[in-house]
Structures are given as structure tokens and as C-alpha cells.
């Protein structure tokens, strides 16, 4: 791997490119800004907020990358994209080559370029940071290359090994499942993905809103997998529609479980079952998957005016920004810690603020009050302050005695995390299930207690990110492939 990287870095074109501009000059170029829709407009529209870089901006940003001999950015990437190679391809204006490089290791570059927390991954390792300069905008460039390829109409498919005819089943079509399916197809397997919902894409479709990740982008990536021979079966729940035994009888030799963390957590406080109080999963699914915000669809959704979202993660930001777009006059984040501890991406918090979201940090709901029809009308909040750090390393929120506040609300979205969906653990015999309900796997191979069954993504992690799930998919595919070859 490292050898390969070195060899590629030593190719003539890379050397020439490095010589074409001094490092000092490269460092002096300021980091590119992502063009965005204007906040007042976008907070009432479902259009994608980030517009993508122009070719000119992308080529200039690519120049900022020093093409380091020891590129630590790659270590920051869960799917180990050859970052310098794709960026240098952009610099020499070989954008399609750049896209090809991305696809060597990533099944969904246009998705990752949009939703990965790059500031915590590749970009956090960038050499620029050591020089007190802003990191290279790896995420923006990734998106640029993937979008360019898609819009060019000449989408390249990764090279596929000769078909070996071995049938592999994938349970769940979210990021872990798709990434696994892509790699297994490359290795030559006959891959079928089973999806419980009526649409392919898992959380990319039902969870992440279109203003951050348009569904059409996801569909193009899924189509590429189809072209690579991956089959998709919707409306099929393994463990219910088909049993574990059915899969064996149909000749599947390997199974990858990527069922995700479906089950929404609630706080179990009084009034939480009033109507108008719903999980982020329900709210986002109604809007993103079912299109409840559009006239032509049958699925209803609440159009709250005073909307409170409980939580400080990306899902909370997605929910609150959705509520704003659906007409909320006051769309509030209620978070029990301070902004510093928020798990949401910085960009998400910034976008939310620009869109007029009210942040009520250091507040925690303790009770909801309903009207005579059982609809939520008020929430009672406990004010908090920060105490000593807890097990997560973040400062623990502590109640301020007697500091209670009542706020009028007509809709509340609970976005405090999810637990693994028990459906597969309950119906698949022979798996080791942890006390948190996650599937226990060998950390290096992602193999479960059943030798032919592997698992990854949130069903193993309990609630993480798209890219970590994709990383799991790759890792499991490599391990399963090794096992198939060597027995």
C-alpha cells in the first residue's frame, strides 16, 4: 500500500507538478470558500445549500496541496482514499482521472464529499494545520470531482474482476451495505442487496435532508452499483420476509448485515407521547423519504410554528433546519450542554445559525404539557450549567436548582440518538449481541460469531457516521473476500 503510494507519487507528471509551484506559493493561496445559497432564501427552500466549487476555484484549491511524501490525510480517511493523487489530478485538470481515483476506494464519492465530517478526518491531518494555515478543502474537491464526472455523462465504472459466481447477500442498503456491495462486485461476486424500505439508500434517503444531500445524487451512485452488477431487492426484510435459512437455501455463501441503528431513543419524560412530539427519524422520514412537504404526496406532516428540537447532533441540525424550511417561525435547538460540546458538524451549526435557528444551549426538557386534544402546547425546561468532565470527556451538564423555564411549542422533535434495530438480532440465530443491542464482531475482520456472516455500520457501532459505515463495508468486504479465497 505504502509502496504503491510512493510509486504513484514518483510518476513523472506528479514530480513535474510539484516543481511547477513552490511550496511557499502553494501555502500562500487562501483556502477556497464554498459558494452557498443566501440564508434568507434557502431557509424557505429545499434546494441544496452548498453549490459546489467552480472549476477555476477547484483548480486553485488543488494547488494548495503540497503532495506530501508522507500524506497523513489518507490515514484520516476511513476508506483510505488516495487523496494527493486525486487532488493532483484536479490540479493538472484531469478531473475524470481524479474521479476514478476516488472510486478506487470509495463507492459513494459524491455523497462523502457532501456529508463527511472532513474537519475531523482527512482535513484534520493536513500539513497546513502544522503551519497555522487552513487545511486543504479535501471534501469540497472530492465533491467537485464526483459532480464533474456525473455531469460530464462519462461515468467510469471501476474495474471488475472476472465473475466467480459466488452469491453474497447484503442486508440493508445504507452506506455500509452499498460500500460493501461495491467492493464485493469489484472482487467478482454476485451481490444482492435486500432493503426493508421501498427505496434504496437507507439513511442517505430517509435521514439526510435534500438540502444537504439531494436524492438524485444518491440515485446516481446506486445506479453505478447496478451497472457493476449489484442487484437490489426492496420491500424485503431479512428475518421476516426471508429467513436466515431461506438465504442459505438460495445459495448465499456470505452475508453482510448492515441493518443500521433504526430505533429512536426517547427521554422517557412526562408528556413525551403527546401528539406533536415525534422522533427525528419519524420527522425526517416523513419529509425526506415520503416527501410529506410536497403537495402531490399522501403522507402528512406537522407544520409547526414554534418547533423545538431536542439534541445537538447532526440529526438535530437536519431536523431543525427542516422545520425552518417547513415554515417554523421559531425553530429552536434545545441542548443540555454548550455549543462547544455539540457533536454536530461545525458547518451544520454555522448553516443553522445563518438560517435563523435559535440555540437554547444548557437547557434540558423535563416535561411536556398538552392541550385538551392531547397535542403538545408547552415544554418545561431545566436550565443547566457545566460541571466536571464525564466519561465522554465532555463537561457534564448539571441542573441549576430552581431554574425552570416554560416555553410555548406546537411541535417537538426528539433527536437524542438511536439504538440498534432489534429486528435482525432477534431473528438471526447464532449472533453475539452486546448489552447495547449491537452485534459483536471481530474488530479486524468484522466477522460475527457465525463464520459466513459479517456485520458493519451502526448495527455494530450503535450510531456513527456515513463514512465510518462505509469504511466498515470496505473492511468487511476485504475480509470476506480473503476468507472465500483461503477458506
Amino acid at each position: 500500500m505504502i509502496e504503491d503510494l510512493k510509486k504513484q507519487r514518483n510518476e513523472v507528471w506528479r514530480e513535474e507538478l510539484r516543481k511547477s509551484l513552490k511550496n511557499k506559493e502553494r501555502i500562500a493561496i487562501p483556502r477556497v470558500k464554498m459558494p452557498e445559497l443566501e440564508a434568507a432564501f434557502r431557509s424557505r427552500s429545499y434546494d441544496e445549500v452548498n453549490r459546489g466549487l467552480s472549476a477555476k476555484d477547484a483548480l486553485r484549491e488543488a494547488k494548495r496541496c503540497l503532495d506530501c511524501p508522507d500524506p497523513s490525510c489518507i490515514n484520516g480517511c476511513p476508506v483510505e482514499i488516495n487523496i494527493p493523487k486525486f487532488i493532483k489530478n484536479i490540479e493538472r485538470n484531469e478531473i475524470l482521472e481524479a474521479a476514478k481515483t476516488l472510486k478506487e476506494t470509495s463507492a459513494l464519492p459524491a455523497v462523502c464529499g457532501r456529508v463527511c465530517p472532513q474537519e475531523k478526518q482527512c482535513e484534520s491531518q493536513c500539513i497546513h494545520l502544522k503551519m497555522k494555515s487552513e487545511p486543504v478543502a479535501v471534501g469540497y474537491l472530492e465533491r467537485f470531482a464526483a459532480d464533474y464526472e456525473r455531469e460530464s455523462g462519462s461515468i467510469s465504472l471501476p474495474e471488475l474482476a472476472e465473475s466467480n459466481g459466488i452469491k453474497i447477500a447484503v442486508i440493508g442498503s445504507g452506506p455500509a451495505g452499498l460500500s460493501f456491495a461495491g467492493d464485493m462486485a469489484k472482487y467478482g461476486y454476485d451481490v444482492t442487496v435486500f432493503e426493508a424500505l421501498h427505496e434504496i439508500g437507507g439513511v442517505l434517503k430517509y435521514g439526510i435532508p435534500e438540502f444537504r444531500l439531494p436524492n438524485t445524487i444518491v440515485d446516481v451512485e446506486i445506479d453505478n452499483l447496478r451497472k457493476m452488477g449489484v442487484k437490489f431487492i426492496t420491500n424485503c426484510i431479512v428475518g421476516k420476509t426471508l429467513s436466515q435459512e431461506d438465504l442459505h437455501n438460495e445459495g448465499y455463501k456470505g452475508i453482510f448485515i448492515a441493518g443500521g441503528a433504526g430505533l429512536p431513543n426517547f427521554m422517557n419524560i412526562p408528556g413525551e407521547n403527546l401528539s406533536g412530539v415525534l422522533s427525528a427519524n419519524e420527522y425526517l422520514t416523513r419529509v425526506n423519504l415520503m416527501g410529506a412537504n410536497r403537495k402531490e404526496t399522501d403522507t402528512p406532516v406537522f407544520f409547526g410554528k414554534n418547533v423545538a428540537i431536542i439534541g445537538g447532533g447532526n440529526t438535530a441540525m437536519d431536523s431543525v433546519r427542516t422545520a425552518r424550511r417547513l415554515g417554523a417561525e421559531r425553530a429552536m435547538i434545545i441542548y443540555r450542554r454548550s455549543e462547544e460540546e455539540m457533536p454536530a458538524r461545525i458547518e451544520e451549526i454555522k448553516h443553522a445559525k445563518e438560517e435563523g435557528i435559535i440555540f437554547m444551549n444548557l437547557h434540558n426538557p423535563i416535561r411536556y404539557v398538552g392541550d385538551e386534544k392531547g397535542r403538545v402546547k408547552q415544554m418545561i425546561l431545566q436550565k443547566m450549567e457545566l460541571g466536571e468532565p464525564d466519561a465522554s470527556g465532555r463537561r457534564r451538564p448539571v441542573e441549576i436548582q430552581g431554574a425552570i423555564e416554560t416555553i410555548d411549542v406546537d411541535m417537538v422533535v426528539v433527536a437524542i440518538g438511536v439504538s440498534p434495530n432489534p429486528l435482525i438480532p432477534n431473528t438471526f440465530s447464532g449472533l453475539d449481541i452486546s448489552k447495547w443491542g449491537t452485534i459483536t464482531v471481530n474488530r479486524n475482520t468484522l466477522q460475527t460469531g457465525l463464520p459466513e456472516v459479517f456485520a458493519g455500520g451502526d448495527i455494530v457501532r450503535g450510531g456513527a457516521t456515513v463514512i465510518l459505515a462505509m469504511g466498515d463495508g470496505r473492511k468487511a468486504a476485504a475480509a470476506m473476500h480473503r476468507k472465500m479465497k483461503c477458506g
Binding site: L197, T241, L263, S275, M290, D298, T299, P300
Partner: protein, 263 residues
Amino acid sequence: MNQIVKKVILSENVVKLEVEAPLIAKSRKAGHFVIVKTGKYGERIPLTIASADIRSGRITLVIQKVGKSSRKICALNEGDYITDLVGPLGKATHIERFGTVVCACGGVGTAPMLPIAEAMKKAGNKVVTVLAARTKELIILEEEMKCFSDEIIIMTDDGSYGQKGLVTNGVEQIINREKVDLCVTIGPAVMMKFVSLLTQKYSVPTVASLNTIMVDGTGMCGACRVTVGGKTRFVCVDGPEFDAHQVDFDEMMLRLNAYKDYE
């Protein structure tokens, strides 16, 4: 896509559809339900499975017109396709030889009761069924229910068929004359609430099968949550059947109306 092979109109507002769904027909058990979506822009709604035939690969759905989506499904005809159909979902009914089992059905609740009565009968129980509805035309599946019941008591609000009275009157008659080991009740939430209050009075263990609002039906959204014994449970994955005496029916009824003004 699942084709509708047969359509029967059971009453003005109730339609029976036989649908091709071989995998579900094979794997379903009494108590299971499916999620159905009609058309590209359709809503996902839960429907209980009334019966299934493995050989023909068909399942039977009985649908009452209540809202936009159920009307849309009822408007489909033989040869049409249901856009999306997924299942079987939920936990199967716990079947064993209890002794005497009373099946208390209200209106369209008779349909999901059918496979439960069948399974209870086959397990060696004495099955006494109470079929209740507002009026004669709304009593459905009486003949089918007879096959699995030792006795059927019909109750109508207006006395147009069977005895005049409510489902609870029928259940109380049975409790007063013999020992009832289990009562299963399916119907409108308010009906199940009163059956539950009655059987609680007589200490008869009672199971209610709940039909709440759902989106995915697999535990993902929590739209279906109910309070059972003071704890929040999901009807889709923890149910649909619960100890009726523990269910907060009042809360459930309010939640069922959540989207009334939004449809």
C-alpha cells in the same frame, strides 16, 4: 409490486383483497401485519393479514375506508398492483392451549382476528367469538369465523342482526356463564378500551391487538408508540399485541388523531 387477484366488497366501507405475495404468505403467522403503499407518492400504512394461502402464494387483506390512503387502496381493482407491500411485521400471537378463549371483534377488527381464532382453535381451545358492529351490514366474515369458532354471538348497536347491544354485552354474557381463560380483542381503540375495562373487572387475562399510525413498521420511526404498563412501547416491533389491562387507550386514541387536521 404485488398484483390484486381478487376483490370482494364486504360492506359499504370495507373491501377484501387477495394479493399475490408468496414470500409473505409463506412466512406470516397469526397476528402479523404488512405495510402497504399505493402509488409513487402514496403513504405507508399498516394493514393486518386476514388469511394467507401458501399454495397459491396469496394473502388476504381487509381494508376499511377511513382516510385518504385506505380509500385509495379500496379503489384498486382486480389486476391492479399494490406499489409496495412489505411484511410480515410485528410479533406473532402467542398461541397455546388456554382453555376457553373469547375473541371479541369490533367491525373490521374481525379480519385480523380470523387467523388468531384459527390458530387458537387448532391449538385445542374452545373458541367463542363475539362479532359486533353498528348495524347488520357491517358484520363481516361471519361464515369464515364460524369455521374456527365453537360459538358465535352477534351484537349490533341497532339490533338489526343478532342481539341488540355492544361487544361488551356479548363478552359479559360469556363470562357470566362459564370460565374464560383468555380474551382477545381487536377493533376500534374505544371498543378495546371498554372490553379491557370489563375483563379487568372479572380478572380475565386480555390481549388487545393495536392498530396505530406507523411509517416504516420496523421500529425506525416510533410513530406507533403507546404506553403499556407505564412504559413506552413500539406497536410495530414490541406488538401489535399487548396485555390490554396495561394499555393506555386514552393516550392511544389521542395519538391516532394526531394527523387528522393535516391529511
